[in-house]
């Protein structure tokens, strides 16, 4: 019998529903693995008959609890994720069989040591750069190690065939998500950046991959049809924006919703909850472990050094999505994005001749007014 948390009865209804839904899945014997980052090869988790669930957290609520163990001046995403784990208030963490972490940023790397005391946390050793030839070899060895970990944890054997099948299904999912996000190329805009983001986030909690793809495909068709009928051929003076940088879910209302309400369209996301890991797929013709290692070393997160592909991708997005300005979101204490912002600004303004605004923020509402002023001035600057 799988138990609910001690304080379950005190939870608000939506949270109770989340717990009951996860409990039902677990009662049916579903394997569940918690993950944090797009560097983790979810294909291996699917191939183990488990579902991967993203545990990155985006609300302020559990941060004070986390600050009992973690420094205040730390990334809000890390603090919030840890706080949920610590307080038994996230059904997805609570019902995960174990956690797969990765050595991406320093904050997460060290937080995983503490997280392991709450729930077994297995950490993949990601090389900090893909420049050295042994980086790929070592990352492939990590893929093999993770495969073995899953096999041992669940007492199963994961066949190459099962991995190949998972690669095929995940590539299909990438295609579907990419086509949805490519609606942002339509000019005038067919849907808000707010919708693109919220819908993609919500779809991650639709655990059946096929169902998830069907929902997104249906919405893609619907938006496209409505655009062809009602919007195509009209003119819009709303500036088109690209959002880049740290994961933006936790600041979506304060930044993305706010700037769209002021009269801009966010059409494109260079972020781990955006286009970033959808642009390049896993090579289906190569041996599976090689193909996974290559794909998952090729993610343009700022933890990789150097990281020139991110600039090239941003440049392509500016061209393809007809972008007028770029907003970079830095979550407090994210050193790698914060430093790389200098390069991004230089590239966007000097190479691409586009306006650039950098906002460093956290999950609080304290700087809502200041951010609104910056966004307002940025739009006035775009004219």
């Amino acid at each position: 019998m799988i138990a609910l948390p001690k304080n379950f009865e005190t939870y608000p209804e939506a949270r109770k529903a989340g717990f009951l839904r996860m409990k039902a899945l677990k009662d049916q014997g579903q394997r569940v693995v918690g993950v944090f980052c797009s560097f983790v090869p979810t294909e291996l988790i699917y191939a183990a008959g488990a579902i991967p669930i993203g545990l990155c957290a985006f609300t302020e609520e559990p941060i004070p609890a986390a600050e009992a163990h973690l420094p205040r001046n730390l990334c809000p995403l890390i603090k919030a994720s840890y706080g949920f784990a610590l307080t038994d208030t996230c059904p997805y963490f609570y019902f995960s069989d174990f956690i797969i972490g990765e050595t991406t940023c320093d904050g997460k790397r060290k937080m995983f040591e503490l997280l392991d005391e709450i729930k077994p946390t297995y950490v993949m050793q990601l090389p900090p750069s893909k420049v050295a030839p042994h980086a790929l070899e070592s990352w492939k060895a990590e893929m093999v190690r993770l495969r073995r970990q899953l096999e041992e944890f669940y007492g199963i054997e994961i066949t190459d065939e099962a991995i190949r099948e998972a690669i095929r299904r995940k590539n299909h999912e990438r295609d579907v998500m990419l086509r949805f996000m490519e609606l942002g190329k339509l000019n005038p805009a067919a849907l808000s950046g707010y919708e693109i983001g919220t819908r993609l986030d919500a779809s991650a909690f639709s655990f059946d991959l096929e169902e998830r793809c069907n929902e997104i495909e249906a919405r893609t068709r619907e938006v496209l049809e409505s655009w062809e009928k009602n919007v195509k051929g009209t003119e819009s003076r709303r500036p088109r924006l690209l959002v880049t940088g740290c994961p933006n879910t936790g600041v979506r209302d304060k930044i993305i919703k706010a700037v769209e309400e002021m009269g801009a369209d966010v059409v494109c996301f260079d972020a781990c909850n955006g286009l970033r890991d959808k642009l390049r797929k896993v090579d289906e013709t190569k041996p599976v472990m090689d193909a996974l290692a290559e794909k998952y070393l090729d993610i343009t997160c700022s933890v990789m050094s150097p990281n020139p592909q991110r600039l090239t991708d941003i440049g392509d997005m500016i061209d393809q999505y007809e972008v007028d300005g770029v907003i970079e979101i830095i979550l407090q204490a994210c050193h790698t994005y914060n430093i790389e912002a200098y390069e991004v600004k230089r590239y966007v303004t000097e190479q691409k001749g586009k306006a650039y605004l950098c906002l460093e923020t956290d999950y609080s509402q304290a700087d809502k007014g200041q951010i609104a002023t910056r966004l307002g001035a940025f739009l006035e600057m775009l004219g």
Partner: protein, 252 residues
Amino acid sequence: MDYIGIDIGSTAAKVVVRGAHPQQFILPTGWSSRETADNIRERLTAGGVCLSPDHSRTVATGYGRGNVPFADKMVTEITCHARAGAAHGSPDCTIIDVGGQDTKVIRIEGGMVSDFLMNDKCAAGTGKFLEIMANRLCVGLEELFALAAQGTPLAISALCTVFAESEVISCIGEGKPRADIAAGVVDSVASKVATLCSRQALLPDIYLTGGLCHSPYFISRLSDKLGRTVRALPDGHFAGALGASLLAERMK
């Protein structure tokens, strides 16, 4: 026709009228932007300005811009300062606005904003920092600058206003000369503003706007820190309101 610019800042509200009844005035913002807006309306009416759409147009700016019910349009203070800088400074220049609660560095090219920076969630390097330290030293702002001009700056190294205040209190406790403490306070603000400036390529013409325009001492300290000549924008305290008034004139 009158073109009215109203800049409701965190500390002071500034008003500039251009057109048939030219005038400018300043009043404390107080605790309610709405009440300040009512006072401004009375002052304007007394000054012969008619607020009906046939006789005037109004642009509001500053953090209280949303609380001016008779404004035709709201524009951020960044754009307004830039407009004033382009008109009274030069079409290509850098504006440094040290405001009551935030500091902005605005790059203007061809009369338009091409980039801007604001200090992040921190009072260091703003007017608020000076105000708090002046209070602690029991002097007004003007007196603080006058004192500072006679002193040798003491190092005030705390990055946080609250901790810097403790540092000042320690200096007072140790019996350090008030002039040296005052010089240290002004030096600290100038350093922080200069650090913000270093994150943007400054243009040859640099103008200061906001309440500190009146202090040649602050301007000389800031110039020293930047290694560049900073000038006060003429009527720089009114830059936001002036820019708003210029934008009101352009409105259709």
